[in-house]
């Protein structure tokens, strides 16, 4: 569903409004757009106590170089994550976290390669909590003292991930898959890059990306729409005029079609070895971007197909499990974003090299066989059921809607997208895995 389908006129409060009804469940989604450009999505869930709010900012760790007007700006790796930390700025009263906690709200945030998402859940004082959160987003304190106070906490977090074998193995794989794309860097950056981040970097990024016409607010729960809009009108008028300058444009260098290397191994003080196999899907890359429904269709189609060839229902998984090469920890993820896409799969294994090789061979072999349409249909059923079950949770449905917004679709578009994908289409989306040269592996072994 495109945002352009909003009516041309706004009401007195400055909002244009639209309602989407899911034919499967009868549940509704209200979509409102403020004249400042801010989009608000409401998922009403009467009968539930918790209320959830998410603020989606389309700025992630890969956006380290971007143009604003005719100026090119470069910030160190980890800036998006550092900014996320600083938004939770504390003061003598405890800052945002302290303020939200005193309202009984539980708040959190995460930074991904492509976006930053701030969210909170509460039962009472929802409007006050929302006001606090929006104030923190729209008027953060990003002065030097704050930045210096936060730096050790960010560095400690990086240290913690350095001790996490899964995280190390993953980062190792991405740096084998990609040579220039910033997705190869850890979301949090490195101790060196984090040490270089300045208050100026953070302010520049905030000014460029934390704009009312880029941010999307998603709310779910037992909500009073009128009260919320009154509150939001006040905040938006005060804080967020629609920016007069053009949107920033992230810059990415061309990325080679094939991985930088076929992989490598690392050693850590661990007891159990593990492995990850990756494939760079170069059909999505800088210069060959995907967006909106096309992106989500590919994302879902490939994931559905991968379910039928890599999950416990697949002959490959069954064979690897039966031979002891993998265990229950084996999993996979296909990431497909605007200008990069890759598959990662793996888990613990007592013979990680053999397991990685067997996974690669198994995937390549798969495409020499006829597809199992029945199995694919089962996966579609499972996806449909999982979708309906996810709507039982106020937070989960709110969070998924918030993530959908990044791709200009809505939660209720998923069933329609799944309906459109048949086995042949999904297989053709996934057959990039036939190319042996596209694979890389990351092996984690216990230190000697």
């Amino acid at each position: 569903m495109s945002r352009s389908s909003f009516g041309p006129t706004t009401d007195n409060s400055g909002f244009s409004r639209r309602t989407v009804i899911d034919p499967l469940t009868g549940k509704t989604l209200r979509i409102l757009r403020h004249e400042s450009g801010l989009v608000i999505k409401l998922l009403p869930r009467p009968g539930f106590s918790r209320r959830f709010a998410a603020i989606t900012v389309p700025y992630g760790s890969i956006h380290t170089t971007f143009n604003v007007g005719n100026k090119t700006i470069h910030v160190p790796a980890g800036t998006a994550h550092f900014l996320e930390h600083c938004i939770f700025s504390r003061d003598d009263n405890g800052g945002l976290l302290g303020g939200l906690a005193s309202l009984g709200a539980s708040a959190n945030a995460y930074t991904s390669h492509t976006h930053t998402l701030y969210y909170f859940t509460t039962v009472y004082h929802f409007e006050q909590a929302l006001e606090l959160y929006l104030q923190a987003i729209f008027t953060p304190y990003l002065e030097r003292d704050r930045v210096e106070a936060e730096r050790p906490v960010v560095l400690a977090e990086i240290d913690q991930y350095q001790d996490d074998p899964d995280s190390r193995c993953y980062n190792n794989l991405l740096s084998a898959l990609y040579s220039c794309h910033p997705v190869r860097e850890d979301v949090g950056g490195t101790p060196e890059s984090v040490s270089q981040i300045t208050d100026t970097d953070l302010k520049t990024v905030w000014r460029s990306f934390y704009r009312s016409d880029q941010i999307i607010l998603t709310l779910s729960g037992d909500l009073d729409e009128d009260r919320l809009l009154t509150l939001l009108t006040g905040i938006l008028e005060e804080k967020t005029a629609r920016p007069s300058y053009s949107r920033p444009k992230p810059i990415f260098l061309p990325e080679p079609l094939l991985p930088t290397s076929s992989g490598n191994s690392l050693r850590m003080d661990v007891k159990t070895p593990s492995f990850l196999v990756g494939f760079k899907d170069s059909s999505v890359r800088p210069g060959q971007e995907l967006k909106g429904r096309r992106l989500v269709t590919r994302q879902r189609g490939v994931r559905l197909y991968l379910n039928s060839i890599l999950s416990p229902v697949s002959p490959l998984y069954d064979r690897l499990y039966g031979s002891g090469l993998i265990n229950d920890s084996f999993g996979f993820h296909y990431s497909c974003e605007n200008n990069h896409a890759f598959l990662v799969c793996g888990g613990e294994s007592s013979q990680p090299e053999q397991a990685a090789a067997a996974v690669i061979e198994g995937l390549i072999d798969h495409f020499s066989m006829e597809p199992d349409e029945h199995l694919f249909d089962i996966q579609k059923r499972a996806a449909a059921g999982n979708f309906l079950r996810s709507l039982d949770s106020v937070e989960h449905s709110g969070l998924v809607e918030a993530q959908c917004s990044l791709h200009e679709i809505d939660l209720f578009d998923y069933p329609k997208i799944y309906d459109m994908i048949d086995c042949a289409t999904a297989r053709s989306m996934t057959n990039f895995l036939e190319n042996r040269a596209g694979y890389a592996a990351s092996i984690l072994q216990p230190a000697r």
């Binding site: 005193s102 001790d163 499990y321 039966g322 265990n327 920890s329």
Partner: protein, 758 residues
């Protein structure tokens, strides 16, 4: 439970030491439960028999016979049964007459508690009085106990809704018809029991066949009127509507009140059968109608209201009990999905834990209907992504094994994926894939063994879990509470298929078992589940009841441990002892303390140690309820271990002396409140709340939990904090760290720790 009557010469009192609980215990309400469970818990710790000394009739009937009395909350038979359910080993019944009333307090203590009952432990309420004229009080008892090397525990009063829970308050609520409030005080609904009597069959003729029981004159009678009730008969429970009263419209001459109950979802002849009617909510007072037609109209309206009340109240309750296995149903229409939990408990033992963990994996990998992992996985995905899994957990010295399944209640072709997955869960449990010798297939066992062993080894890869496990091991010493619920690698490696087959029999026939169903559960689905549950083998099952199991726990001697590995970040784990037992009403204050200290981003540790001092990225505390312990965990840079240890200890000291902002207390209260209110937003949380509520003996609804939360004061939290004693400190740090435990000022006051470290 042994019943011993004082004046009966045939009842010889065995010559063993006892823990004695004193009181009348009418109704065995939540206040009584606190006392009785403390008695059982501490008696078990001391290795003595928990016993109660009580009277058949209330002393007031002798001392003040003219005082008004609203009736007993239960008869003697039910009172004894309730005491037995609490784990009381002996009940000594003593007739309270004028002769007994004249005994002096000290003679009572000396002759009854000392000589006859050989009390080594006495547990009483704070207002306990005894002896001639009620002259004996807790102070006298304390002195006598000191002189005679008897341990005395005085149990604080338990409040609900701001007032003390007492039998007289309960009686008052019941005669006023406030049966919903009575539930909060009793911890269960007020219940009337009786044999169904033959009536005039008027209800049947009018289309509402009722089962009628007489309300015994000495029992508290709910205010006349119509109630939403549940009726228990022959191990089954049915939603019902009950009229209590004299039925003025149809019987003007009636003198004795009757309870007439209509079990509207079942069609059974109940005459002559024993039933229990549980009173849940009063709908309206008794009314007299001018005609039978008016009466019928009103009954129809009442029935509609009661049906709706039952549908919307979402009250989890025992729907059936089959061969000692309770089946709880939590009815709710708010979720698209439904879930079933099959929970087994057994004592945690090293090799057995490994067998059970492996068995759970083998069982959930296949069954006769789907004889391989892949077929089972496909069947589940085909049921619109249904789930079926097993889980192992440790609760004190108990191993919990849960088999659970969840699926959509209905799909738009009107099929029921949930009914199908329930069937599948029962297949997995009751119809496994076995060879001709009755053993699990070797290839399946080996695959699952390898899988589980790898998973167990990989736990070490997670530094936080590794450090926690190490600290817990040190904290528990050789006690079973420190064992992994997945067993150990050595045992896992050597478990034979024969052992596994034996474990399977143990699981089905000897473990304590209970089943929870949540969601929109219709009668057909329930009956289908009950039919499968009847296939469980009948056997002597492990008894799990609060205060007995999980068992009392005393940690190992204080100790400290330092380990150096190739890590970037040091891990600190501190283990404290001294929180109340898991069943106690005071655990809410422990929850409060934990939340204030290190519960989440609102806590003191997060605020000071992470945010203000920048010493750690993660720092939090955890309340290990079944061990009465609190663990504090932190990830810090290796150079800052000393600073972090000091900072953590400082924050705890601040709580101890009450040096904290009122705002910290208030935001903690709000966060816990949010947590309480959030439980009902999630079906699995609702079911888990029930499961742990039963395990801990502290099952409270939302209102009761909020009442308990609001009763906590800052002083109580400080008092709780000052009762904490550091028992174990574990630090995992980098190879080149120069941190030394002896240099950490933290241990200066802990001579034992330094000793242990040497």
């Amino acid at each position: 439970m042994t019943l011993l009557i004082f004046d009966n010469p045939e009842h010889t009192v065995a010559c063993h030491p006892r823990g004695i609980g004193l009181g009348f215990f009418d109704g065995v309400h939540r206040g009584h439960l606190e006392l009785l469970r403390t008695l059982v818990f501490e008696s078990n710790r001391m290795g003595i028999v928990p016993a109660v000394l009580t009277f058949p009739d209330r002393p007031e009937s002798v001392l003040r016979p003219d005082d008004s009395f609203n009736g007993y909350l239960c008869d003697l038979e039910d009172r004894l049964a309730l005491l037995s359910d609490c784990g009381i080993g002996e009940t000594h019944l003593l007739t309270f007459d004028q002769t007994f009333a004249a005994i002096s307090p000290i003679d009572f203590l000396h002759n009854y508690l000392g000589k006859r009952l050989r009390a080594k432990l006495v547990v009483v309420g704070h207002d306990y009085r005894f002896g001639r004229g009620g002259a004996g009080n807790v102070e006298l008892l304390r002195k006598w106990a000191e002189d005679n090397q008897v341990r005395l525990i005085v149990v604080e009063q338990v409040k609900q809704g701001g007032d003390r829970i007492s039998s007289s308050r309960l009686r008052e609520l019941i005669v006023q018809g406030k049966v919903d409030e009575a539930i909060s005080l009793l911890g269960r609904p007020y219940s009337l029991r009786g044999k169904v009597i033959q009536g005039r069959r008027l209800g049947s003729r009018l289309g509402f066949p009722t089962a009628n029981i007489s309300i015994l004159p000495f029992l508290a009678c709910p205010a006349h009127g119509v109630y939403a009730t549940r009726t228990r008969v022959d191990g089954r429970t049915y939603d019902s509507i009950t009229n209590v009263g004299l039925r003025p419209t149809v019987d003007e001459a009636a003198k004795c009140p009757l309870a007439e109950t209509y079990l509207y979802d079942t069609n059974q002849t109940l005459y002559g059968r024993d039933i229990h009617i549980d009173f849940l909510q009063r709908i309206r007072p008794e009314m007299q109608f001018e005609s039978i037609r008016q009466l019928v109209e009103q009954v129809n309206a009442d029935l509609k209201q009661v049906r709706q009340w039952h549908r919307e109240s979402e009250l989890c309750h025992e729907k059936a009990r089959i061969s000692g296995v309770p089946v709880y149903v939590l009815p709710t229409d708010r979720f698209a999905q439904a879930a079933i939990y099959f929970v087994f408990y057994l004592p945690l033992k090293k090799r057995q834990a490994a067998s059970m963990a492996l068995l759970s994996r083998v069982l959930t990998s296949s069954c006769r209907r789907y004889p391989s992992r892949i077929l089972l996985a496909r069947a589940l995905d085909g049921l619109y992504g249904a789930t079926l899994e097993s889980n192992q957990e440790r609760q004190g010295d108990l191993q919990l094994i849960t088999f659970s399944a969840g699926a959509l209640r209905r799909w738009n072709d009107d099929s029921s994926p949930f009914s199908a997955v329930c069937d599948l869960l029962f297949d997995v449990l009751l119809d496994p894939l076995l060879d001709e010798e009755g053993l699990f297939y070797e290839d399946i066992v080996e695959a699952e063994r390898q899988n589980l062993m790898m998973e167990l080894s990989a736990r070490e890869n997670d530094r936080a879990k590794f450090a926690f496990d190490r600290c817990l091991e040190m904290f528990c010493g050789d006690r079973p509470q420190g064992l992994s619920p997945y067993g150990d690698l050595e045992s896992l490696q050597t478990i034979s298929r024969q052992e596994l087959a034996k474990a399977y029999q143990t699981l089905l026939s000897q473990c304590s078992a209970s089943i929870y169903l949540g969601g929109s559960i219709d009668a057909d689905l329930l009956e289908a589940c009950l039919a499968r549950i009847r296939q469980l083998p009948v056997g002597e099952r492990v008894k799990v009841r609060p205060s007995e199991r999980p068992s009392p726990f005393d940690p190992a001697e204080p100790s400290a441990g330092l380990e150096k590995r190739m890590v970037e970040q040091a891990r600190i784990v501190l283990a404290y002892q001294g929180l109340p037992p898991y069943f106690s009403h005071r655990t809410i204050a422990a929850t409060f303390l934990n939340s204030m200290l290190g519960g989440d981003a609102h806590s003191l540790l997060f605020d000071v140690v992470r945010e203000k001092m920048g010493l750690a990225y993660s720092v939090f505390s955890s309340h290990l309820r079944s061990l009465s312990a609190m663990f504090i965990m932190a990830g810090v840079t290796p150079e800052k271990v000393n600073d972090a240890l000091k900072a953590i200890q400082d924050q705890l000291s601040r709580l101890t002396i009450g040096d904290f902002d009122r705002s910290l207390f208030e935001r903690t209260a709000r966060m816990i409140e949010t947590g309480i209110l959030s439980v009902n937003d999630d079906l699995s949380s609702m079911l888990a709340h029930q499961m742990y509520g039963h395990l801990y003996g502290r099952l409270m609804n939302r209102k009761e939990s909020l009442d308990a939360l609001r009763s906590v004061t800052p002083e109580e939290v400080s008092q709780m904090a000052s009762g904490l004693r550091l028992v174990t400190c574990y630090v995992l740090t980098g190879m080149d760290s120069d941190f030394d435990l002896t240099s950490a000022g933290l241990f200066d006051d802990f001579e034992e720790v330094n000793e242990a470290q040497k």
